[in-house]
Symmetry: C2
Subunit: 420 residues, 2 copies
């Protein structure tokens, strides 16, 4: 190879046109998993995968694979697969880059790579993938499709998960025609390009980042149950106010984060369901979705223990009962050293020295790391924003990211996946 | 009159059969204003009004009147009207007595009274009324229909109020066929029989209550606006979390009530709308429905002032902006002395001495008190519960209440309404 890998001309325009699917009119997109807009985006992605020369497959959880068996002639039927991808579902008021950028970059890098391989002998096949329901906005847990592919979550359990209206993943995928029946190979390496979703690269003025580690997370679903009563005459001391208990948890949880060393602990309540939610009825039910995140397993264990004290305290104040419906733990971990080295080596070809980062957001590369060497690489997010219509990355950085991903995939396809 | 007024036989069965409309299966009803179940209940009420000998009219805001022009022959076209009634809309998880008991009692008392008047010369006509949207569960403010009839709220403004889904009162009433065009007379006296919705009668072992005064109320709608962001990587100090601000108000408001003398101040947040309400997105919007109630105008003014300090404090903690969308005030007041005396005098015919009460819950008699002498009389609520499927009043007390209401109406129809 003489010329270094370049972003295909027109990539930014094609990214823009993809962002029109599910556009919220303010720069953002609403492509929540298995929504009509998500279905349209999936159809457009299939079209683009085919145009890039991929064979499109959809598996039982709706993961979309664009397969390019580059090495089967030279390395045989058992040639390993290198995967690149991300997700195209979004938050309800999501941004246009989170996920979709990495998928489209992988599709375009694959198409370009195919053309560059003329006469060479690849050791690995290439696959592009868009994982189902990464965001966890409509269905919990997040990382649903990649967790099924990695064998962490049984397919039947994943299909049975329900949204807030009681619609299952299975029915929702059927409704958009994307509950597939096809098999896909397991990769021997997985590379995910993503916008950073944090302000570190912008702060240091660095254009590329390599995630070395990921933060751990506790994700809990809490239910407080009281009794409906009239907000007027019911004596304050007799009320069993589920919303009050929820509010005590929300404020108490924030104080936990404020009391920790700066940046060591992130806490949040993003979703709160209140019933009956009438202005003059004491709420008898409040369901909270709580998150605790840290890079330090000790800090997280301590915060989790304090939360478990806070919950009955809040319930007692509000005279309600409490129940922990779900308490999921993801341990902190490290991405593959071989892929992190490769990312740094290829970045040098573009004159860049990537910054080492820790990802606090979850990525599909985390479940994939359970079955193969995996890594997430990043371009900057302005103001660190993700899950917002105000997501923004400089166009030149978006193009640089595509080229960098292409260069990495070229090395992986030609040399074969690393051992770790 | 020789025999004292008696509850019509079978009243309890007919109350039970009415409770089947919109039944929630747990003893409660869901007949939120202009819902399909509410439409069914309205049709059944019209049928019962006609069976009792009333002419049914529906006005522009959906109030249902059952008119019995008893005095027109003896006292002429300008004979005054005595009204009795309440409401048949309910909370989403409401009880079967709140409102419906008073309406059905009035219908049955009117039917019985008509039969007892044989040969006597009434000075007043009798009207039974079911007011639209007393509860304020779906449309705010509460007391909508009676406020329109009392001239406090212009009809067009009331029809334009929208529910959480953007459906107007006008469209909702049209959908169930109960936006009427008929006129109804203004009453010269209004009597409302209601379950107490508080525990005072039960505590004192008294079977009947007369509300002498009503508490005042501030009802506010607050909006906090922040910015969506990823709950993971976004540094805690950069978050603009609208739900956190809401939680600070909910807990702070409760502390205000706890700090006041026992029973002097009631505060609540019954409804909270969170957007986008996704588990891993910092909420950018939270709308709260806040209530402050007291019998003492000074206590309420002080609590209101402290709330107005709490709102910007909560906004500052959460780094969000705040807006007071609505701040409605209802001053405390007193019911008509003449009707309160009449209620006590007729109760004596049944061997009862009613307890004097203050109503903290709003009733349609409060707007009506602006145009004519009005009163609310009550039977006990077990555990003080209202707005709950667990509402309960002893059957014998329900029957006693109907007889008492009938006796009051008989006196009012024969003697004419009081001056005050």
């Amino acid at each position: 190879l003489t010329a270094s890998f370049a972003c295909p001309p027109g990539f930014l325009d094609r990214l823009d046109s993809f962002s029109e699917i599910g556009s919220t009119g303010d720069g953002g997109v609403d492509r929540v998993e298995a929504s009509p807009a998500n279905g349209l985006a999936r159809r457009e992605l299939a079209r683009r995968m085919e145009a890039a020369g991929c064979e499109v497959r959809v598996d039982g959880i709706g993961n979309m694979f664009g397969l390019m068996p580059l090495a089967q002639q030279t390395a045989g039927q058992d040639a390993p697969w290198v995967f690149a991808g991300s997700h195209i579902d979004s938050q309800p008021k999501g941004g246009r880059l989170d996920g979709a950028y990495g998928v489209l970059a992988a599709v375009e890098a694959a198409g370009t790579l195919r053309d560059r391989l003329n006469g060479q002998k690849p050791r690995a096949n290439l696959g592009v993938v868009a994982w189902t329901s990464e965001e966890g906005a409509r269905f919990q847990p997040s990382l649903l499709g990649s967790s099924v592919h990695a064998g962490i979550l049984p397919l039947e359990q994943a299909l049975a998960r329900k949204d807030g209206s009681g619609v299952s993943v299975a029915d929702a995928l059927d409704a958009i025609g994307f509950r597939g029946t096809q098999e896909a190979p397991k990769p021997a390496a997985y590379v995910e390009l993503h916008v950073e979703c944090a302000p570190e690269l912008e702060r240091s003025g660095t254009r590329l980042g390599v995630f070395d580690r990921w933060w751990g997370a506790h994700k809990l679903e809490l239910l407080f149950s009281g009794a409906t009563a009239h907000t007027g005459p019911t004596p304050m001391a007799m009320r069993k106010d589920a919303l009050l208990a929820a509010a005590e948890v929300i404020t108490g949880l924030r104080r936990l984060a404020d009391a920790a060393p700066a940046g060591a602990l992130h806490t949040s309540v993003g979703r709160l369901e209140v019933l009956p939610n009438s202005p003059n009825v004491v709420p008898d039910q409040a369901k909270l979705f709580v998150e605790i995140r840290s890079a330090d397993a000790g800090v997280m264990a301590d915060a989790h223990a304090r939360l478990l004290e806070l919950i009955p305290y809040a319930a007692a104040i509000a005279r309600v009962t409490h129940r922990i419906v779900r308490d999921e733990y993801r341990a902190p971990g490290a991405f593959a050293p071989g892929l992190r080295d490769l990312a740094r080596a290829t970045a040098a070809e573009f004159g860049q020295t990537p910054q080492g980062l820790e990802t606090i957001a979850a990525h599909d590369a985390m479940p994939m790391a359970r079955i193969c060497p995996s890594v997430v690489v990043a371009v900057p997010s302005r103001d660190g924003l993700c899950h917002s219509p105000r997501e923004w990355t400089e166009p030149a950085d978006l193009e640089l990211g595509v080229a960098w991903l292409g260069a990495m995939l070229e090395r992986l396809v030609l040399d074969g996946p690393p051992v770790s």
